[in-house]
Amino acid sequence: MTYKYFPHTDEDIKEMLAKTGVDSLEDLYAEVPESIKLKRDYQLPEALSEVEIRQLFDKIGKKNHQLTCFAGAGVYDHYTPSVIPALVERSEFLTSYTPYQAEISQGTLHYIFEYQSMMTELTGMEISNASLYDGTTATAEAVLMAKASAKKANKVLISSTIDPKTLAVVKTYAHFHGVELEMIKAKDGITDKEDLQKKIVGNAIAGVVVQQPNRYGIVENYVGFADLCHEQKALFIMNSVPADLALLKTPGELGADIAVGDGQSLGIPMNFGGPYVGYMCCTEKLMRKMPGRIVGKTLDKKGQRAFVLTLQAREQHIRRQKATSNICSNESLMALWVTIYMSLMGKNGIKEAAQISYDGAHYLYDGLLKTGRFEAAFNQPFFNEFCIKYNGDVDQLLKRLEENDILGGIKVTEDTVMMAVTEKRTKEEVDHLISLCHE
């Protein structure tokens, strides 16, 4: 038996069996009841060589169409610097384990510390954890955190303008964990502040969740929301697109207690849905209630500055059923990805990329209105994504664009489509889209 991932020769096996005191590999499973032993082959194909693997995936890949992307809805076609995959693929990052042994994991621990620092800068918050799975589960974890922090309140208010995918996950977690949810109405595409007021004043509310930009791409004005929440002893939770925070008022500036979201917009490829990275930042007051791993600075025995996983007493391996979360593996390598992104793009690059995306979306929006076939869906400011009303069949429009290798956007209703633009879209691509929409 020879296979490239199995180094054992027949001699090796013979020697090792002898030392173990059994006659054959089968004997290693002597205590397994006969009734459950697997006595047949797996009904799977035989091994493929690398040559055949490449041929197979070439074939499968051809069944996918790569399209010029004007869709968003939480996943954006932003620029990925070439440096990132080259560094992230380094085997010392890729094939290493969780940094429990600090002495030989200073690489990982340093970049997580950088990641935490950068996320707090971007969100304007005081501290960050080392990452969660994605934006949807990070929001769910924030809701659970609100319940755990509230003395008696068990209800969380959620704006109707958050992404339905996020809402679906929050609803699922809340249902099983026993948190009551109530929706805040939307008016003209934004959170109805009066409805929030009605639902929060005088009631025991643990937290309020909003999104920025919201599910329609609209940038809401959340000034005053935090004060309203804090007067009622509720936590103010904001789910924001981090790339947009380069220019938008931050959760920190708006008084948020918890900032969550998905880091995909920080240079992570779309990858058909994952892996991405969930981020969570909070105030210092909530530090010990925050789920996930956290890296902190310390000194080694020789007085050298070093980093280590800290505040582990909150985590599942110590708290077990008393932990506020069960998270173990997170998205470390994707945290590295966005950390390198923020190191390269830096203070100015993230602003420039966000500005181009913003300008591109507004250029497209104006161009579409000019065709006469579109009109405004909402009368609200937007960032790099907008909803727009079409005077024809949206399905047919998107189909036609697809035939021209363009992913034209996301269908929102029968007559409304949502489009996004990033710094990767050229003026030619946008003009081409506009002319195709004109037909």
Binding site: A47, V83, Y111, D359
Partner: protein, 485 residues
Amino acid sequence: MNNKLYGNLTFELSHKGRIGYSLPKNQFGNHEIPADLKRDKDAQLPECDEMTVVRHYTNLSENNFGVNNGFYPLGSCTMKYNPTINEEIASLPAFANLHPLQSLDTCQGALEVEYNLQNDLAEITGLSDFTLNPCAGAHGELTGLMIIRSYHQSRHDDKRIKVIIPDSAHGTNPASAAVCGLEVIEVKSTEEGLVDVEDLKPLLGEDIAAMMMTNPNTLGLFEKEIPEIAKLIHDCGGLMYYDGANLNPMLGAARPGDMGFDVMHVNLHKTFSTPHGGGGPGSGPVGVRKGLEKFLPSPHVEKNGDKYTIIYNHPNHVGAFLGNFAVILRAYTYILSLGKENLKMVGPLATLNANYIKECLKDVYELPITGLCKHEFVFNGLKDKSTGVTTMDVAKRLLDFGYHAPTIYFPLLFHEAMMIEPTENESKDTIDGFIKVLRQIAKEAIEDPELVKSAPHNAPISRVDDVLAAKHPILTYKQLVNDNN
């Protein structure tokens, strides 16, 4: 690995006015963001040129240790080889450039990969169907428990709010139960380290939703009473949940579905070779037996004739899309690369490696449970503890010889636990080298205990002060700078 600490942070390499990026010129004209929506202060991110950034992360990587550097005997982690071909396939533009909300017609290839992996995992585990949506093992555990609760809720059996978990279980098991709103009841282990069936019997009742187990258990022992345990749980109306962290030795030997498990999760980053990445991304697909498919969370991939489609069959959602697709792609490539004839050798070879190490070292390390183990086993520290050398000390001294430490202080049943798992990829040479070093450390523990107690000596840093880190948390660069002043 570079044994000298590099120790910089990008913030410390930053210089005002430097840039490390290039973007196209803005051709879209100038549009003003309304002043009341703009942020007041810029994010103080670093300003570095490209080469500085490249050097920085290259140097950081050299203070790390990966499976590609050396042996990682971490119990319950299955640190097997992460094949390079998997990386190549996962980065193919034909997959990487897909938006998850593209029309079904334009991503049939991606859906084919998902569907095929669902089926392959079902075949390997003896279950009916899988969801690939959970992003990690713990996420899979939570999803599995949600499926179980949904099953009971659909039968209006609302009193089932308790989960039975062995006292040897991994911390994520009770934590997942708590997040899912379930109460944890612990069942004791026997002296032989297995679930105590007599202690289990009085715990059964109509309030039991499920029992969570891993088999082999966290001591690396096969729970041979599993048919009886499964029957007991099923008879009282509960379901059996399998924690797939220890699935590796079962490849080719037995299937959880055949053992009587109803729901399980698999760790693609353990059994199916996807890289650990320093702590993720992972993937924790969840499988169900026949009859429970309708409780799989949404969205889900199905096949209609010869077209793949996405259905929303259940209100439970655990993520936005269809899981960590790039990780899924790697695992699928792995299964295709091994094929049926090699997949069935994974278990036996891993188990052979583990038993061999155990037999070679049981004279100098305390083996609390003798007899055959599966893919991993536990030593309870050194046999001779007279000089006060602990498992922690042994683990740190191992680092000096170019090995990662085994899992330490888990499971909680043994106070000086060292859990060792050598995967099927480790050669006899590597293992003999590891055995030789552990023997040497046992000798040093008697002849020169201080050397072991003050280890590591050959790592970039020596032991850290984790009391200081927890008492005086410095978690960001800003806090670091303020602390220095």
